[in-house]
C-alpha cells in the first residue's frame, strides 16, 4: 500500500524529522469487532483476500475450523476458533485475528528502514512495502505476533485496515462483507460508544464480565473487540491479557541507541586526545641499540619466516 497524502502522516519509522502538523488533528478511526455476534463464516477472510488481491496457497486442515491455521503473508486476517468449556457449558469463541493498529505501534518503533512503517493521523499503522528491507524487526516489536515475512520477496505483510478504502471514505472490506454486522467501522469515539451499548446488552444476558478490549499498554488500539469475557482476553486463542511492547525491544530501540553511539564517539575522542597530549609511543635510541645488539646475536637466519 502506498502512503496517503504526506500531510496525514503522524509517525514514520526510523525517521528523525518532525512529521507535518499543519492540519487539524484528524479524526481517529477504529474497527470494532463484536466477538459475540461473529458466526465464524469467514466472509471477512474472503473479502480481505479479494480486495487486497491476494492468494492464499491451499494448505492442510489441522482438524479444526482454523483455516488457514495461522496468519500468513497473504492472509492478513484469520478467524481463530476456541472451544471454551466451563462447568457443563461449552462456548465457541471465534475471534477475527489481525493487526490491532496500536496507537503506540511496536512494529514501527522496531523498524530500522526509514518510512517502511507509517502511522497515519487517523491511527492506521501501515507497511509501505517498497521501503521494507525484510529484516523481521517488526515481528520482534509487535506485542500481538501479527507481521509475517514472505518467503517469496522477504517483505513483511499485515492488515492495512484497508487504508486505501478508508482514505476515500469507505469501510474496510471485512466490515463491508460481514453478514451479521459483527464488524463495525467508524470514528474511534463512536466505536467506543457503540461498544458500550453492546456491553450493556451482553451484561443483561448474563455475561457479567463483558467489556471492551482497547488495551492501554499499547496506548489503545484502532481495532477493538467486544468480548463476553473481557476479564480473560487470553481465552480467545491467546489474545494478550495486557499487551505491551517488550522491555527487550524498549532497551534495544531506546536507551541502547544513543548510549552506543556516545560510547563509540567517546572512544574515538579519547584516543585522539591521548595522542595529542601524550604523543606517540616511540622506541628510544637506547632501546633500539639494545634491540639491535640482541637481534645481532640471533642464531637463526633473520627476516621473515
Amino acid at each position: 500500500m502506498a502512503t496517503l497524502q504526506s500531510l496525514d502522516i503522524r509517525r514514520r519509522s526510523a525517521s528523525t524529522e518532525a512529521p507535518p502538523q499543519i492540519r487539524q488533528q484528524g479524526l481517529e478511526v477504529a474497527k470494532l469487532i463484536d466477538v459475540s455476534k461473529c458466526i465464524g463464516c469467514k466472509a471477512c477472510q474472503a473479502a480481505c483476500l479479494e480486495w487486497n488481491d491476494l492468494k492464499q496457497e491451499i494448505g492442510y486442515t489441522d482438524g479444526t475450523y482454523n483455516n488457514p491455521t495461522d496468519l500468513t503473508p497473504a492472509s492478513w486476517t484469520v478467524m481463530r476458533f476456541t472451544e471454551y468449556e466451563h462447568g457443563d457449558d461449552l462456548e465457541w469463541l471465534i475471534r477475527k485475528d489481525g493487526c490491532m493498529h496500536c496507537d503506540d505501534p511496536g512494529c514501527l518503533k522496531a523498524c530500522p528502514a526509514p518510512g517502511a512503517i507509517v502511522q497515519y493521523t487517523n491511527g492506521i499503522v501501515d507497511f509501505v512495502s517498497e521501503n521494507c528491507i525484510g529484516c523481521g524487526y517488526c515481528v520482534k516489536g509487535c506485542p500481538f505476533n501479527i507481521p509475517r515475512i514472505s518467503k517469496a520477496d522477504h517483505k513483511a505483510y499485515k492488515c492495512t485496515l484497508c487504508s486505501d478504502r478508508v482514505s476515500v471514505g469507505q469501510a474496510p472490506a471485512c466490515a463491508k462483507a460481514c453478514p451479521t454486522q459483527a464488524i463495525y467501522f467508524g470514528s474511534k469515539q463512536d466505536m467506543i460508544v457503540h461498544a458500550e451499548h453492546r456491553i450493556t446488552d451482553l451484561k443483561s444476558r448474563g455475561f457479567k464480565n463483558a467489556g471492551l478490549y482497547n488495551p492501554p499498554g499499547v496506548g489503545g488500539t484502532h481495532v477493538m473487540y467486544v468480548l463476553h469475557h473481557a476479564d480473560k482476553p487470553s481465552l480467545y486463542a491467546g489474545l494478550p491479557d495486557d499487551p505491551k511492547i517488550s522491555p527487550m525491544v524498549g532497551l534495544w530501540k531506546g536507551i541502547l541507541k544513543p548510549i552506543s553511539l556516545a560510547a563509540i564517539a567517546f572512544a574515538g575522542v579519547f584516543g585522539f586526545l591521548h595522542y595529542i597530549t601524550k604523543g606517540p609511543n616511540e622506541v628510544s635510541e637506547a632501546d633500539q641499540r639494545k634491540g639491535d645488539e640482541l637481534a645481532a646475536d640471533q642464531t637463526k637466519p633473520r627476516g621473515h619466516s
Partner: protein, 208 residues
C-alpha cells in the same frame, strides 16, 4: 635503525588470516550500524541498499566467524593469562603514559592485547549465536519471538563491545610506533621487540 635487524612476528598465513578478519569486521560494523541507528541508515548505500545490506550482513558474519576461528587457534596458547599480566594491568596507568620502566619483561602479548583477544573471542561467539537467531531467511522458524528479542539486545550489546575493543586495538597500533609492520610486513624492529616484548624477543633469538 638497521634494516637488517628485524624480528619475525607473523607468518604470511597469519597476516592473511588477520586481514580477512579485519575487513569482515569493518564491513560488519558498517552494515550493522546501518540497521542499528536510523541516523546511520545511509550506510546501507555502501552495500547496495537496505535489502542487500540485510541479506549480506549475516554472510559476512559467517566469514568473520570462520576467519576468527583461525586466529583463535593460532594465538590462544600465547594469550593465556600469567602473573606478569596481572602486574601489567595494575600498572596500566603507567603504560598509557608511556612509562614502562621497571615493568616485567613480556612475552609475545601484553595483558592489554590478551584482553583484546579474549574479549573479541567471547563477543564474536555471542554475536554468531545471536546472529543465527536473527537470521530470519533461514532460521526464523527455529526460535520463539521472545528468543529473537533477547538475541537482538545481545547482538547489539556485543557488537558495540566489539567495536569499542576494535577502536582500542586500532588505536594501540597507531600509538605504539613500529607495531603496524608486524601485520603489514610480518616483522618488527629489534628496538620495538626489546621495548615491548623483551621476553618473547629473547626466546626468538635463542631459538636454533
Amino acid at each position: 635503525m638497521s634494516e637488517n635487524n628485524v624480528v619475525s612476528r607473523y607468518t604470511t598465513a597469519a597476516r592473511i588470516n588477520h586481514w580477512i578478519t579485519a575487513a569482515s569486521l569493518i564491513l560488519l560494523a558498517l552494515s550493522g550500524m546501518a540497521l542499528f541507528h536510523p541516523s546511520l541508515f545511509f550506510l546501507t548505500n555502501l552495500f547496495g541498499g537496505g535489502q542487500m545490506t540485510r541479506a549480506i550482513h549475516p554472510w559476512i558474519g559467517v566469514v568473520l566467524f570462520v576467519s576468527f576461528l583461525g586466529l583463535f587457534f593460532r594465538f590462544f596458547a600465547l594469550n593465556l593469562w600469567n602473573r606478569d599480566d596481572t602486574v601489567w594491568m595494575k600498572n596500566l596507568g603507567a603504560v598509557i603514559n608511556d612509562r614502562e620502566e621497571g615493568m616485567p619483561e613480556l612475552g609475545k602479548y601484553n595483558a592489554g592485547q590478551k584482553l583484546v583477544f579474549w574479549g573479541q573471542s567471547i563477543l564474536i561467539l555471542l554475536l554468531f549465536c545471536s546472529g543465527i537467531v536473527l537470521w530470519d531467511v533461514y532460521f526464523a522458524d527455529y526460535t520463539t519471538i521472545d528468543q529473537k528479542r533477547l538475541s537482538a539486545v545481545v547482538h547489539a550489546l556485543c557488537a558495540i563491545g566489539a567495536i569499542l575493543i576494535w577502536i582500542v586495538h586500532v588505536y594501540a597500533a597507531i600509538w605504539v610506533k613500529g607495531t603496524l609492520s608486524a601485520m603489514t610486513r610480518g616483522s618488527v624492529s629489534g628496538g620495538w621487540a626489546w621495548k615491548h616484548h623483551r621476553k618473547w624477543f629473547r626466546q626468538e633469538v635463542g631459538k636454533p
